[in-house]
Amino acid sequence: MSPLDNTYEKQFKVIGTRPPRPDGIEKVTGKAQYGADLYVPDMLYAKILRSPHPHAKIISIDTSEAEKLDGVKAVVTSKDFSKFSDNKPSDTLVNCIAHEKALYDGHCVAAVAALSNTIAKSALKLINVEYEILPHVTDVDEAMKTDSPIVNKGYVLENVPKGFSENVTSYYEFGHGDLDNGFNNADLIVERTFKTEAAHQGYIEPHACLASMTPDGKADLWCCTQGHYNVRALCADIMGMESSQLRVTPSEIGGGFGGKTTIFIEPIALALSLKSGKPVKLVMTRDEVFKATGPTVSSSMDVKIGMTKDGVITAGEANLRYQGGAFPNGTVEMGAQSAFAAYDLKAVRTKGWNVLTNRPKQAAYRAPGAPQAIYAVESVVDELCQKLNLDPLEIRIKNAAKKGTKSSYGPTFDDIGLIATLEAAKKHPHYLAPLEENQGRGLSCGFWFNFGGDTCVTLNVNFDGTIGVTEGNPDIGGSRASISQMAAEELGISYDKVRTIIADTNSLGHNEVTDGSRVTFAVGLATIKAARAAIKEMCKRVSLIWGIDEDAVRWENGSAIPAGPNAGQFDPMSIEEIAAMSSQTGGPIAGHHEVNAEGAGVSFGVHLADVEVDKETGSTKVLRYTVFQDAGKAIHPSYVEGQMQGGAVQGIGWALNEEYIYGEDGRLQNAGFLDYRIPVASDLPMIEPVILEIPNPGHPYGVRGVGETSIVPPLAAINNAVSRATNIRFSELPLSPPKVLSSLKKEINDG
């Protein structure tokens, strides 16, 4: 790792404060433009026809009647895409529009652009699709069996062992040590099978885009996305375009959580625009969002852990089976690596199988793959503690991964901050607060890797000495404020002198998607480096004015000053003065930085949950909830807290109510917010965030990603709390009232 000239020991002036976000007023007054908010002259409205079958061969599609309808300007099917490329269509394209088969309930088969939404909807009814219905499978365990219907052929990797159906596409195994010996040394072994259902990211803004494509192969695309450079790459590939000819402008984004890291409708809008010769707007309905965009994987998992009676974990084993819909995905390996990451284990083994089913292609959801596996492991650890009458927090501290631990996924940990996080939880009044009847307290650790990735930042010094920062990552939670803060800190100026914007794809080089909790880390790092480049240039200009060596000028508190007494006697020159003379001293001043940011640093969190279970109805009320997480350095603490609170509540929803329910017919039964119930305000208490700051050596200010880890612990924290409140060990999520009630009744009947 190259030295970063880290400054995280210093006293910050702007970092750690809570200034207003630059996009705030637009967002509280309704002016901010999201994906569906753009209207352009001569624009058409598009609608998509979707398969009602979970698995069916498409025999024919007759669009002639739809095309004849007054006001219809274009209809597209998969055939319209074959002219763009001679290659086999990519999974991404086939997920956007079915080719030979409809692979899940809600798979797009055709689309219409018309003068109004009303006309487009009427036209859908005139499209005649002939299907040959095929047998389907939506359950992960069923899909693995050798006699299962095969969802999608040709995806099995060389690493899959024999004995499974072709739906098992990849296999991973991690771990170290002698498991048999470990289990032999245990005084108690608990082994359980767990299931989690798919949960949707549930962003409130449905996918939306507006495309304008011309016959010369140029296009403009406006859309809500977590990564417009990725949208450009995927769409350019599908449409046979050169990247330079496709300009993608990101709208404000109404939530993503991983679900807007890929594309679903953008190529459809581009193709309709090309065919009709007009701009085309395409906005998903909520029903479409549930049926055809990525929820997370559902899982079936076996976990076995051994413990001595004084609480030492002697061995841990997990077998994870994740289904991710009709196309291959890389989720189970993330779960298999994360499952035991919080523990210092002599013997550990995890295995994972990725499986195809007739469900929508999974998309990333905050720490993809980790919440499920860690839920299973943390539930078993809690059960062992309960059965051995040990304090679950003490036991986690006793077995915690720390500097020097050989992690369950291979590398040896450096400073990771887990024990400090656990100690913070132990010291917190929440941990020893009294509980009443039917109440329980649950605890869970969580872990996520965090990423960096390709990042570009340009920082312009305007003639009045103010700063324009241009970055390329859609702001999903206040990141423009944090980026402005880091620029201001580095330049030694006040926050209100900086304005950060998010550029379109032509204005900067490639930026990786807003994912992996990377933005504050990676864009922040590039911003600091860009500021340093601008400072270097400003010092050079001042050296010319003063007639001294460039090295004899240094930067302090927003001004250039002589580096030492030998440099000469000069009054400091402020950024405003330097900027005002920049034309005369060589031209406009800017700094920029382009990097593949590595060294993001892993992150741990600990959650405490108190619940009360109503034994009459089986419903669970969360009474108190506290989140402890290491942020490395909290740039804007309010938005760090927001990530911790928001992730916790998404996890609570996943634990208590959210699930994809498929009928025997393979169709999704609850594609709406009424039946797919995300947490509402009255379900929840305040979520108390406790931020720890253990600097990440990979970032100049010590920043660590915070966005994803917070969704990991709630599943087990809630499961453990409900299990302790009822004295029944649950092993399937969600813990919806009917499920809890039936277990309570069974317990009473069984005496």
Partner: protein
């Protein structure tokens, strides 16, 4: 210089069931190139993408990240996030 690399469990089929292999490498790219040369069965996984942890820090794909013989080097599947 020879670097010792740890291979994850299911990938050890491609390295004659060896958990640790040694290859000549001074950076991430040489490591992957020489692993592919020495253990051709690793090629499919390497071409799909692998990350490398060097002394505990995970590098997604930066070819010229230096690797020294004293570093702990662990191959990992290519990271995905949300």
């Amino acid at each position: 210089m020879m670097v010792k690399v740890r291979i994850w469990g299911s990938l050890q089929k491609a390295t004659d069931n060896k958990e640790f292999v040694e290859v000549e490498a001074e950076n991430f790219k040489q490591l992957l190139d020489n692993l592919s040369l020495k253990y051709p069965k690793l090629k499919p996984q390497i071409s799909r993408g692998v990350s490398v942890a060097i002394d505990g820090l995970i590098y997604k794909n930066s070819w010229f990240t230096p690797i020294k013989p004293e570093n702990e080097v662990v191959l990992m599947p290519y990271m995905v996030g949300g």
